[in-house]
């Protein structure tokens, strides 16, 4: 059977269908001995792809083998799981695979990690709960297990923010690998685990991208890596290449960049062709950051351009494309077109021709100032010629966008009508010449473009008889190679040409009105009517704009009203198909009990997918915010003129090609006008190589114009790319500096205007903030002057609290740290009676005595106002003497300081205050949100960010739900909207207005709480405080 299976594999490999053996492959895996089993599994993995229905039959076998005591069987089962496994069956094997993570054998652990990696790839949310185990695998004592966990991390780190803290570990691992700490058998040609190194370098570059502090951690190891890889072997070069890429990806460091640049130099200059290729590829990557680097290697690049090797040439062109600017665009485009003419690979042509078109369309309209003086004709001809080449080479392989863009450029033009007309005129002339020649080989899309242009602009060209134009176009119609779509284009062009030869047109219309193609027939009829009826022609619009892009309101916001109505009427919210699919899978996975009798389907994985579903509901409403704007745009589906117009600059045209390339300050490139050079050659014939050399130098000078240090800054091409990093080095990184300033400004703003916050923080948590905690916010003190005897002063702090510090000469400093004595807060309710009239009616907390000493006592109380929270501090004189000045210094000792700072970077500046509040004293910053049940329902659907958790239920009273909710209400200032049976809905909002809705349900002895809010962090914090409040109860 094994032999037969191998033969079936052979058949499939040779392209013959062997689907009848699939079932036998599965059987073999099920029943055979060890070797048969392996071949069976192998055949399955070769024959069946992920979605194949027969795979279901394999699940039981895999389950059995995973539980086998034979290591080899476990091993194969894990291998096949990592190769092909039905997605909906993952829950069935997941617990078993997880168990294997702690298997004593490294190979089993390794395979288990790889199987989990596969699960992560096909169903990331099913393995969400085991991220911690990946971390354990990363720190496994066996290097093989660690290496396989890197695959997972490479995927995870694509969104790097949450994995920054692992940077240190990756750096250490790389250091150990470099230091030869791995067993010798990991070496490949005496290089320690090269592929592992490459993997690590990739991870590091992802982590360090645009992140200075993380990048700093890895400078040292990258430096070492560059240094180590000096051995002359291919694999070390592969590592070097990865290293160079990493150096240029992360936050730049001049020293490393220099070394990396030297490496690239070695690559490019290497006689080994493979290395040269790699060098070019690295250079292509690097010039995006530092275009000057290309200058150092210009001669090599020129050589590569003429290289006999197709791949090298192709890569060089890619490199040139990246360094294109307004000055060298003509030369580069010419080189690309040359290459294209000699190339016959379809994919390459499509790829490259698009780039040529992009370049041609991009540069002409951003002409640099100094080109003003050059003849506009020169530029026009270049542009039209280039586009002609693009169309005739690219032909019908072109994407529809390219001809459309070109026509739009022609049609929309610039501010100056004269220039537009010149361009159009030139196009008409050039097309007429083309049409006079052989037209049968021209691609359809070129013909279409030509006929459109002739139809629109032929009237500009006075010297040419209209009859001539009509004759040429009708000639085209007669050709058999012309497709019917093109015929339609031509006919509509004919319609546009004002007075034609009526007889010719009539003939034509006659012959075409019996055409098979209905569109064509209609066109012909229209044409005939037009040419017969001269009156009708009077009405004809002069210019028909036929290229336009309409805007589509992809969010379908106009349906929002309908959707919300339907939702209100009880319709089920829309779920996108993929989600439905997922839920379906989930159901299916749950239903398949027979497979999971020995292993409970992991609950957590289900709850995770469950949890995700509600977030998707709000998509449409999220979009509706800008629907008005969008629909307005959609209403007028007009040309987008603005963007293009501005681009169509009025000045400057491109210079002539090489011979008169603008003088360059390229020391190496001796620029000589071509004529002069030719003259020199005529007088004394030079040896061949030197002429060639000069040619190359000339080419170089024209290619690398604009990249030099002194030359005027390249105008478009590279100005888009980030400026060279070398120059940037001494300054702080731009993004980081900007974030730095924003931080500072927000910091100061928070200081000046958020005094309230800080004092709240202190006021609300007097007993919680031990004096030992780290204090960074030594906040501006608030001082009041008290005079009079035993007069209670209330300090009303509002948002514009002044920051000046009035310190009396002989002040008594009462330190709140005396609270540490933990004497019970003496509640003196009578103090509240002393509140000013406007504050008296506000709800307030208990008055807490903060501190006291023989002469002064301090107590505070919180007042809840709609828009703010007020902290009132009562200062009472305990003695009989008169106290003249009292200085109150409030110091914030904030134990959540670290957390706050970290989160702060993630959130916007204006979130700052709210964040601090939430971190520590959420309980006093929100207000009950009074809504009706219906309003609540609507609001619920519109909110995203949700969190679900089970909480403790207070069971000491008759109605546990009501008791619990009331307890929460008292503790957290919530509003209990409604209680229906075993469910209760509660609402509150932040000071700033952001609502948070809570949905509670009694679930056995627990309270299932589901929170939603537009604010991403709010549900978590509310939840936290609910937990605390219940725990205190």
């Amino acid at each position: 059977m094994r032999e037969i299976m191998v033969r079936a594999m052979y058949c499939e490999m040779l392209g013959y269908d062997a689907s009848f053996t699939y079932i036998h492959a599965i059987k073999l895996a099920q029943q055979g001995g060890v070797l048969e089993k392996r071949v069976g599994y192998l055949a399955v993995s070769l024959f069946l792809n992920e979605g194949h229905e027969l795979l279901l039959l394999l699940v039981n076998t895999v389950l059995k083998d995973l539980q086998s005591t034979n290591l080899i069987e476990v091993c194969m089962a894990l291998t096949v799981v990592a190769q092909v496994f039905p997605k909906d069956m993952i829950p069935a094997v997941l617990p078993l695979v997880e168990d294997k993570l702690s298997h004593p054998k490294e190979i089993i652990r390794r395979k288990a990690v790889l199987a989990l990696y596969k699960f992560y790839l096909i169903a990331p949310n099913q393995v969400q709960h085991i991220h911690a185990k990946f971390c354990k695998a990363l720190s496994d004592k066996d290097p093989g297990v660690m290496a396989s966990s890197l695959h997972i991390y490479l995927q995870l780190i694509r969104s790097p923010d949450s994995y920054k803290d692992l940077t240190g570990s990756f750096v250490t691992i790389l250091k150990q690998v470099l230091g030869g700490k791995l067993p010798v058998d990991f070496n490949y040609h005496s290089v320690p685990a090269p592929w592992l190194q490459i993997q690590l370098l990739r991870i590091l570059s992802l982590l360090g991208k645009e992140d200075q502090s993380t990048s700093e951690l890895m400078y040292e190891v990258l430096d070492e890596s560059l240094r180590r890889a000096e051995m002359n072997h291919n694999i070390t070069y592969a590592i070097l290449y990865e290293c160079v890429k990493a150096v240029y990806t992360i936050h730049p460091k001049a020293e490393l960049l220099e070394k990396a640049a030297r490496c690239i130099g070695n690559f490019v200059l290497s006689p080994k062709i493979n290395l040269k290729y790699l060098g070019l590829k690295a250079l292509t990557y690097v010039v995006q950051h530092d275009a000057k680097l290309a200058l150092q290697h210009q001669m090599t690049i020129i050589e590569c351009l003429d290289h006999s090797d197709f791949t090298i040439k192709r890569e060089t062109l890619e490199l040139l494309f990246r360094i294109t600017n307004a000055q060298n665009v003509t030369v580069i485009v010419e080189k690309m077109l040359d290459f294209l003419r000699s190339c016959n690979d379809e994919h390459t042509i499509i790829h490259l021709i698009g780039k040529v078109a992009e370049l041609a369309e991009k540069y002409p309209f951003n002409k640099p100032e100094f080109m003003n003086t050059l003849l506009p004709m020169k530029y026009n001809s270049w542009f039209i010629q280039t586009m002609n080449d693009v169309f005739s080479i690219g032909g019908d392989l072109l994407q529809q966008d390219d001809p459309n863009n070109f026509l739009r450029l022609l049609a929309e033009g610039s501010e100056s009508k004269e220039e537009d007309d010149q361009l159009r005129l030139y196009a008409v002339e050039s097309y007429l010449t083309v049409l006079k020649g052989h037209t049968s080989h021209l691609p359809q899309c070129f013909l279409q473009v030509m006929s459109w242009v002739l139809g629109e602009y032929a009237h500009l060209q006075e010297s040419v008889d209209r009859r001539e134009v009509i004759r040429l176009l009708t000639q085209l119609l007669d050709q058999r190679s012309v497709s019917s779509e093109t015929r339609v284009w031509i006919l509509s062009a004919l319609t546009k040409i004002p007075e034609g030869q009526t007889d010719l047109i009539l003939d034509l219309a006659e012959s075409l009105s019996s055409s098979q193609d209905t569109v064509l027939r209609q066109q012909a009829q229209e044409l005939r009517h037009l040419s017969q009826d001269s009156q009708l022609r009077e009405f004809k619009p002069v210019a028909v704009v036929c290229v336009f892009s309409s805007q589509v309101d992809s969010s379908l916001s106009f349906l929002d009203g309908f959707v919300s109505e339907a939702l209100a009427a009880g319709a089920a919210p829309y779920k996108p198909p993929h989600q439905r699919q997922e839920e379906l899978c989930e159901d299916r996975a749950l239903n398949l009990e027979p497979y999971s009798f020995s292993l409970p389907v992991s609950l957590s994985s289900c709850s995770i997918t469950d949890r995700q579903s509600p977030t998707l509901l709000s998509v449409s409403s999220g979009l509706s915010g800008n629907s008005a704007e969008l629909s307005q745009k959609a209403g007028s589906s007009t040309l987008i003129l603005e963007g293009v117009k501005r681009v169509w600059g009025k000045d400057g045209y491109l210079p002539q090609k090489e011979a008169t390339a603008p003088p360059v300050d390229e020391p190496s490139a001796a620029v000589q006008p071509a004529s002069q050079q030719e003259a020199a050659e005529r007088i004394e014939p030079r040896p061949e190589p030197s002429t060639q050399n000069q040619d190359k130098q000339q080419l170089a000078s024209s290619l690398f114009v604009g990249l030099g240090v002194g030359s005027s800054v390249s105008l478009l091409g590279k100005s888009e790319a980030p400026p060279p990093r070398f120059r940037k080095k001494p300054r702080p990184h731009e993004s980081s500096s900007s974030s730095g300033t924003s931080k500072r400004s927000s910091d100061s703003s928070s200081r000046s205007s958020r005094n309230t916050t800080d004092s709240f923080l202190y006021g609300s948590f007097p007993e919680e903030e031990p004096a030992t905690s780290i204090s960074t916010f030594d906040h501006t003190p608030k001082s009041t002057t008290a005079n009079g005897l035993s007069q209670n002063k209330d300090t009303k702090e509002d948002r514009h609290a002044n920051t000046s510090q009035i310190l009396g000469g002989d002040m008594v400093i009462v330190r709140p740290s005396t609270i540490q004595d933990k004497h019970p807060p003496s509640v003196s309710s009578d103090l509240t009676a002393l509140l000013p009239a406007d504050l008296k009616d506000l709800p307030h907390s208990d008055v807490i005595s903060l501190t006291s000493d023989p002469s002064l006592s301090l107590s505070s109380c919180r007042l809840f106002r709609d828009e703010a929270l007020l902290l009132v501090i009562f200062i009472s004189n305990c003695t009989e003497t008169v106290i003249k000045d009292v200085a109150v210094q409030l110091t914030l000792k904030h134990k959540h300081q670290q957390m706050t700072l970290k989160n702060f970077f993630l959130l916007q500046v204006f979130e700052f205050m709210r964040l601090i509040l939430m971190n520590s004293i959420l309980s006093v910053t929100h207000r009950p949100l009074v809504v009706t049940t219906e309003e609540y329902g609507k609001l619920w659907l519109s909110l995203s960010h949700d969190v679900k958790q089970n909480l403790k239920l207070l069971t000491d009273a008759g109605d546990p739900l009501r008791t619990t909710l009331n307890a929460l209400k008292d503790a957290l200032q919530l509003h209990v909207v409604d209680i229906i049976g075993s469910e209760g809905i509660v609402a509150c909002r932040l000071l700033s207005g952001a609502p948070c809705l809570l949905h509670c349900r009694v679930n056995g002895a627990a309270l299932a709480m589901w929170l939603r809010s537009p604010h991403p962090a709010l549900p978590d914090f509310i939840l936290y405080h609910c937990q605390r409040a219940l725990a205190h109860h």
């Binding site: 192998l42 390794r110 990696y117 490459i198 290449y241 994919h347």
Partner: protein, 144 residues
């Protein structure tokens, strides 16, 4: 990412093929033919990487046998080039002086070795002893 690995001889006969991305059975033969043509057309002094459709081919020749790997743009060509050599070294170690015939007649074993090295288009193991360990264990069990 690695898209496929082929072993083809100079006559264009496929000796081994492994796809890490679903390719229809009918399309495989024409793809392989194209790939072989692309590689055979290249001369010794040209570089071992060829642009092919929207991905790259890395090839290496051993006597009359070509090993061709199709990779995506973001993969490191030279490391794949060396991976191929590592693979051949492993085969050499197992078959002791591997030849085209070995690959023809023990297709399953070559596949098992390959499965240990590349999984889902990623390089998962390059340590020779570890690559061979499961296969040697299998052989041992089959003997007894």
């Amino acid at each position: 990412m690695i898209k496929f690995l082929l072993m083809v001889n100079k006559q264009g006969q496929t000796r081994l093929s492994r796809y890490y991305e679903q390719v229809e059975l009918g399309k495989r033969a024409s793809l392989e033919a194209d790939v072989v043509r692309g590689c055979l057309a290249r001369r010794k002094e040209e570089c071992s990487f060829v642009e092919f459709k929207d991905y790259k081919l890395v090839y290496r020749q051993y006597a009359a046998l070509f090993i061709v790997v199709g990779i995506t743009e973001n993969e490191n060509e030279l490391s794949i080039y060396e991976l191929v050599h590592n693979f051949v070294e492993v085969l050499d170690k197992y078959f002791s002086r591997v030849s085209e015939l070995d690959i023809m007649f023990s297709l399953d074993k070559v596949h098992i070795i390959l499965d240990e090295m590349i999984l889902n288009g990623h390089i998962v193991e390059t340590n020779k002893t570890r690559i061979l360990a499961p296969l040697l264990a299998l052989d041992k069990m089959a003997e007894s």
